[in-house]
Assembly symmetry: C2
Homo-oligomer: 338 residues x 2
């Protein structure tokens, strides 16, 4: 049987980006006519076909929905998947899960694969790289083709769709405010780069809580880490260099690492040093002492997203305006705070 | 647009099991002619179609592969998925992940959905309920239709396919043997029911290690838990009732729970009480003290399964005999043992 060429292979052979191939094949005005001609001719010659389904079947419902998440070995995203699964199953839908692995290229390929008929619509949380590039053409294309998308947690204003987010700023504000109420005066923040919406918003919440309490905001007290896992050495240096009485980490991993470092430096938790994390996952529950953390209710996010998607699929004839649903976070008190 | 009826809806309307509907529609000899006639007529009347794809497309390669896992909020399974993903991406394949949620019914529906053209083959770890029921018709059907399957970790002799398993018996033997070498004389086992292959095999490894050392095997020293999470009360009772100097838990959750119970009872770990778990996940690494555990190398399992599946897909013309690949486990020494 003749193998079909894939988007990735075309990109490699012609030495252009996946994004360019994808845009050219969908006739995007961003790509020059000459480039489009070359790419289209090459694709035709090599038997390129969008995956999965004859166009004639395109209007048939599959009762499958998709979800694309950046990673899977991560309690928050796997909880979202569980929430989607449970609601979809109740409603008689199957769910297929795909990973972007934080890669823009994989997100483009996966969105295209899903959009080509094997599912009716999908839920997506943006890859880190996509947020960095700010290139969302692949999602807008899917929506223009009539397939609904619901974005969750990592979203963008550049895509017009239903969205489910948590109140990151408020969640971070509440956490830092709680540390201040319990007497902390010198609070460090371990966060992510600003191009990640969750990093930016949680940093804003931290800053707002300090300002609200009349405490100074010192840029040296904010550590921005690129890698989501790792960074032990930076965290150690950060804590050694500052005389913190508390640290707020915007992931549970950052928070637990800070706690371990502080323990090794001989500080008692929570007497000398309090710690709050973000995401109420297994790490927070198993840490010793157990970690006070901002719970994002991942399963609720997933359930809400599936509800919005399936509602839209089952009411295609009605015009439903796009909606952004904001879920509140909860601060779970455990042993790492006073 | 007219909604198509699903397998599940047919099952509900006719008040027969999903399995019966699925068998009837694929003309299984297990189902009476009369029942088959009723189910087929009903399915036809209600516009039932296998999902996703016109039969004419069935022989086209999609360069997508699937993986069905019992659950996703679980380090071992998400590591397997990562291993599959990484190898598949290297080879230019997309991966779709589906959950059976430990349910036989969901496994049947999902296998059928995947087999109907959206992917070229899939990797599967059996649901708890499927192992209990010992009903594998849905997998044998998929294989008979010419779609390759690779089974991982939770496998069965009743399906003829490629398999990737770990040496559960040897892994358990090594763990218990290590406890004995370090002086333990009275070792408890917290395991799963025998119908789960991993429960049965790890129990065999435990028994073999005791016998090998000339220690008695006491059935009261073996606790079999149905629920994979939970069982705190049973574990507490089990440890209080016996004078163990060590416990081997066949999941990391069981092991960490045993450790917490022992700590609350005032025992020092590892001086008074040693613990070993199975699965080197985040729980083992974050526990305090950190947990000595049998690492299953989930990512290697996934990579091996993807290698076997893609190799078979790309050599369809060759006759490759089915192969069972057994991966060795490693005992990771941490603070919960001497």
């Amino acid at each position: 049987m003749k193998q079909r060429i894939t988007l990735k292979e075309i990109s490699k052979k012609l030495n252009v980006s996946i994004s360019t191939v994808s845009k050219a094949l969908s006739d995007s005005p961003e790509i020059s006519d000459k480039t489009k001609e070359v790419i289209k001719a090459f694709a035709k010659e090599h038997n390129y076909k969008p995956n999965n389904i004859a166009l004639s079947l395109k209007n048939q419902k599959t009762k499958n929905i998709g979800i694309i998440v950046p990673e899977i070995v991560h309690h928050f995203f796997s909880s979202i998947i569980n929430g989607v699964e449970r609601y979809a199953t109740e409603k008689g839908y199957n769910v297929v899960v795909c990973l972007s692995d934080e890669s823009f290229e994989k997100e483009v390929i996966t969105a295209q694969m899903l959009a080509n008929g094997s599912i009716d619509g999908f839920i997506l949380s943006l890859a880190k790289e996509t947020q960095e590039k700010q290139d969302f053409h692949h999602l807008n294309e899917v929506i223009n083709q009539g397939m609904p998308i619901v974005m969750v947690d990592r979203v963008t204003d550049h895509v017009d769709s239903d969205k489910v987010i948590i109140d990151d700023t408020q969640g971070a504000f509440n956490a830092v405010n709680y540390l201040i109420e319990k007497g902390a005066k010198n609070i460090g923040l371990i966060t992510m780069p600003d191009y990640l919406s969750v990093g930016r918003l949680r940093t804003q919440g931290y800053t707002a809580a300090l300002e609200n309490a009349g405490l100074p905001v010192n840029p040296d007290h904010i550590l921005k880490l690129e890698a989501l896992n790792g960074g032990q050495d930076e965290i150690k240096e950060f804590i050694e260099a500052n005389n913190f009485d508390a640290v707020f980490g915007v992931t549970e991993y950052f928070a637990v690492t800070a706690m371990k470092v502080a323990q090794k430096l001989g500080m008692r938790i929570p007497e000398d040093f309090s710690v709050i994390g973000f995401t109420d996952g297994i790490i927070s529950q198993c840490a010793s002492p157990t970690l006070t953390t901002v719970s994002q209710h991942g399963e609720d996010i997933g359930r809400q997203a599936a509800t919005m998607l399936i509602n839209r699929l089952e009411n295609e004839d009605k015009h439903i305006p796009y909606n952004t649903h904001i879920l509140k976070t909860t601060l779970i008190h455990r042993e790492s705070t006073k």
